[in-house]
Symmetry: C2
Subunit: 558 residues, 2 copies
């Protein structure tokens, strides 16, 4: 049996002109800012708070994932096709892929098989330039900081050893993680330690994803916390008068992008923050745009539900006044085997026993979603290696918990393979949806908020703080940042902060090692482990297998 590659399937698709997709959303052609024939930016004035209230938001998240991922993007796109198949007007709202992983191991992020967004090459490459704009805004602030360090006029007396703001580049480039800059004499600035993160790890990305309009964007950009002066005063981006120029660089990036799915349904793709150190979902503006234009919006949050859904609900939905009406928990039989103790080489070998044991992980996620007053639906992302008895076990076990579990075959069959999933989601939205409630109030004390997440979502017995974290807590208090949201940075491989604890760990303590501040995004970021912000390339980079012919046709991109 041989399969077509994702790019082959995508290239065979005869795309509709983006005008036709816009027409499905009742957008006038004159309101579109086209980027070629198949991409367009949408103006912010299409956002309509009244429509947002009446339309239906569906969040796609997952159980604790294996390294290969659970296929949330593919299920999100597939579910959108399925909803349209059963005559619901649905739009999928997704994150933009980062360029770095496209040339590394992971590949792009435009779905897979017969559940893709297209044109996949463009989406996976520069798209409409949003990441570039974010990168430039981030790096303008860096250049302004280093320029001020050696400036004779308006010198802010910044202590170079305290600068927390890093440069970014959208590339997997490990050699830039830890660098020394400003070498070579007095003309070249002040020598200091620095480093590059990958662009989606930029706070500017987190800010763009949380913002509502230009005023709010400028406020947040100005609020970015940079470090301290030699006499210990905090320095913000506004002290460098950076916020207007940074916002100017983001003037187009703030607008969501419209593309299409393989079945010619609307897809809005905008923003792409890291799911570990940021909220890991598309922009609030994009979600609101979707809800202003479409009766159903399917969206996705990064990593497992303990990270992605928790942040989507407690941070984005709480801040943005969103009311998600159903949460789809994506699970693969493979991941359930993993949580039941299967080794990597046995992931594709049926084992009812392992699935039974591993179900504890999914069960905890189901319980967690209900704590937000939302009913979940389980989507079993279908693989050839799944056995009927494993799949039936999951369906029956979920049913015993009052949850519908449905086989999702979007990868193989597009919307035809997800009609049952779509029907289950509509059933929850139309018959079981309530008013979602966040787990904590942003105004609560920082330690209370952290403890709520750790105990309620992770299942920890308590939270410990390393000395550095205790110092950080005092700094947060001194700077008056107590009422920010908590954006946990934890391994996605376990409910706990120990990647080895699969399934549903119990009787564990989580340790906060340090706490970072993203003052513009309004995040307090407790670090529960080592966070990677700049990936590397593999020994054989994906770039080696790519080609482009004389007509500009690409192959080898995935």
């Amino acid at each position: 049996m041989s399969f077509k590659s994702d790019i082959e399937i995508a290239q065979e698709k005869q795309l509709l002109h983006i005008k036709e997709i816009a027409k499905k959303l009742a957008i006038k052609e004159d309101d579109l800012e086209m980027y070629g024939k198949y991409k367009a930016k949408l103006p912010l004035d299409l956002i309509d708070e009244n429509k947002i209230k009446h339309n239906n938001l569906v969040l796609v998240t997952a159980l604790t994932p294996t390294p290969a991922g659970e296929g949330k993007t593919t299920v999100s796109i597939g579910l959108t096709e399925g909803l349209n198949k059963i005559d619901k007007q649905a739009t999928v709202v997704l994150r933009e892929p980062s360029l770095g992983p496209v040339f590394g191991i992971k590949g792009g992020a435009a779905g897979g098989g017969f559940s893709q967004v297209v044109p996949m090459e463009d989406i996976n490459l520069h798209f409409t330039g949003d990441f570039n704009a974010i990168e430039k805004a981030n790096n303008l602030l860096s250049a302004l900081i280093d320029n001020n360090l050696q400036s004779k006029e308006n010198n802010l007396n910044i202590d170079p050893r305290t600068i927390l703001w890093k440069r970014v580049i959208d590339m997997n480039d490990r050699a830039l993680r830890d660098i020394t800059i400003g070498l070579g004499g007095t003309a070249n600035g002040i020598p200091r330690q620095d480093g590059f993160n990958i662009t989606p790890a930029s706070e500017v990305m987190a800010i763009l994803c949380m913002t509502t309009d230009f005023e709010n964007l400028k406020k947040r950009l100005g609020d970015i916390f940079i470090g301290f002066t030699f006499d210990k005063k905090p320095i913000f981006a506004r002290d460098l008068k950076a916020e207007n120029a940074m916002a100017i660089l983001l003037k187009d990036a703030i607008k969501p992008n419209l593309v299409q799915t393989l079945e010619e349904n609307p897809a809005i793709i905008h923003g792409g923050p890291f799911a570990n150190i940021a909220q890991g979902t598309n922009t609030l503006i994009a979600t609101k745009m979707g809800l202003s234009l479409s009766n159903y919006v399917v969206t996705e949050a990064g990593f497992g539900a303990d990270l992605g859904a928790e942040k989507f609900l407690n941070i984005k939905s709480a801040f943005g006044g969103l009311n998600p009406k159903c949460v789809v928990l994506v699970a693969t039989i493979r991941a359930l085997r993993h949580h039941g103790g299967a080794k990597k080489e046995a992931y594709n070998t049926p084992s009812l026993e392992k699935v039974k044991t591993g179900f504890s992980n999914l069960e905890k996620h189901i319980e967690n979603i209900r704590k937000f007053n939302i009913e979940p639906v389980v989507a079993i992302n279908s693989f050839i290696s799944d056995s009927d008895e494993e799949v039936n076990f999951v369906i029956e076990k979920c049913a015993s918990l009052g949850v519908q579990a449905v086989l999702s075959k979007g990868w193989a069959n597009g919307g035809e393979g997800t009609k049952n999933l779509a029907t289950a989601v509509v059933d929850v939205v139309e018959n079981k949806a309530t008013q979602f409630k966040p787990l904590y109030n942003w105004e609560s004390p920082v330690k209370d908020k952290i403890e709520t997440i750790a105990k309620e979502i992770y299942g920890a017995t308590s939270v410990e703080y390393d000395n550095r974290a205790k110092l950080n807590l005092r700094r947060i208090d001194r700077l008056g940042f107590n009422n920010f949201a908590i954006c946990m940075a934890k391994t996605q491989k376990s409910f706990s902060d120990n990647a080895a604890l699969i399934g549903r760990p119990e009787n564990f303590v989580v340790t906060v090692r340090e706490i970072e501040i993203a003052a513009g995004a309004q995040f307090i970021i407790p670090i529960l482990g080592k966070m990677m912000r700049m990936p590397g390339l593999p020994s054989k980079p994906a770039s080696e297998g790519m080609t482009i012919d004389n007509n500009g046709v690409i192959s080898g991109l995935s």
Copy 2:
């Protein structure tokens, strides 16, 4: 008297939809790749070699400029307006501005006053993403190099001390000139010295500007010379299998961009290489596109004619088979005073004596242009501080040399102010144009080619080579790069390599300090002085004075 700022003039203009501009060039709407309503990319298959032969190419260059510049871009745009006013179908073809200077001192590069290309904010900011694509292609190669250094598979044994390829960023950021990367332990690569250049200084930019199609682009990208192995073998980008992935990143950047002038005439803007270490003109593809679509094409080369025009003619026109029919030499009275010995504070004070003395500089440029078998026209870029007697002197003195000198008032009056200039240009094109001939043959020995330029164009008595340059010459010979074009890197402030020698210096020797290789661009770059490849920001960066309001309207951009 108060003037409107460039951005105010630009914002008051009600732009035509880019479809309407395309219509003037007989481009079908379906062939346009729109980027919003006012920008579009043009497909390469609109290039028509037969039309190129029959249409008229006009090159705008300048006498040896003062630091403020002579206004070549403004004259190029103004002349295009004027040509259209006298019923010639004309298109201006320009370079894209770099983002770095926009936030520094220099500002953007979209013309000025009533001779501008619009939308100026977009053109001066990210435009259609070409610079970003070039930056990413450049930096992907960097990441592949550093990844290979520590790779266990396919390790090419590259000696990190020999790596010539640098990363780029489109930002004025002096602290990145000289850095150490790969610090922090075995996971972070191999420590080595490195640095960032500004994006227009990338060889990828030079390559994009010289290329003809995807096959040629891949060939050139693969030919990039990186450094040596520990056993002294040369390493090229193709050894890292980088050329396809780099070309994929450039799949849209290779297409020229269409915008409009303030008088709704077509402007093609594409590429933006440095004029010191590269050829300093827009892409060959853009020039050919203009000539395929328009009876007159006005284009511009960076710096004075000794650098910009020399390279445009000997490199770009010779390689691309172009036949420029007229060269416009832009001169300001201010610059003639400067070459006559006026100090900076007296630049705006009329002085016939100084202008008379300074004319020697312009005269040498006139002689030089004629060496290429092309007739020049002198455009006196009008300033309020010009006196009638100074202007009349220049006009009469030029007339005595058989050259038309015409006052150009495009900045103040748009096309209405350049009709006389346009008429003079048409006169040369229609009555005096001959077959241009380059000054040297690419196949000649390297030292002969360098000597030809130094003696014929600069007026040097001889060329000397430092020891390093002599070593470089042997390397070039060993690598078989003798038949590349010569891309001189010299101060733009003097005909000589000594910036202090104004006017028409004589009896001087130029010294080649070292010779670089841009093997993909096919350039041998003799370095005659210190070349700046990464500018810094000023004490008070331009970013501080910029604002953007809640409707996205920008002010303070220049």
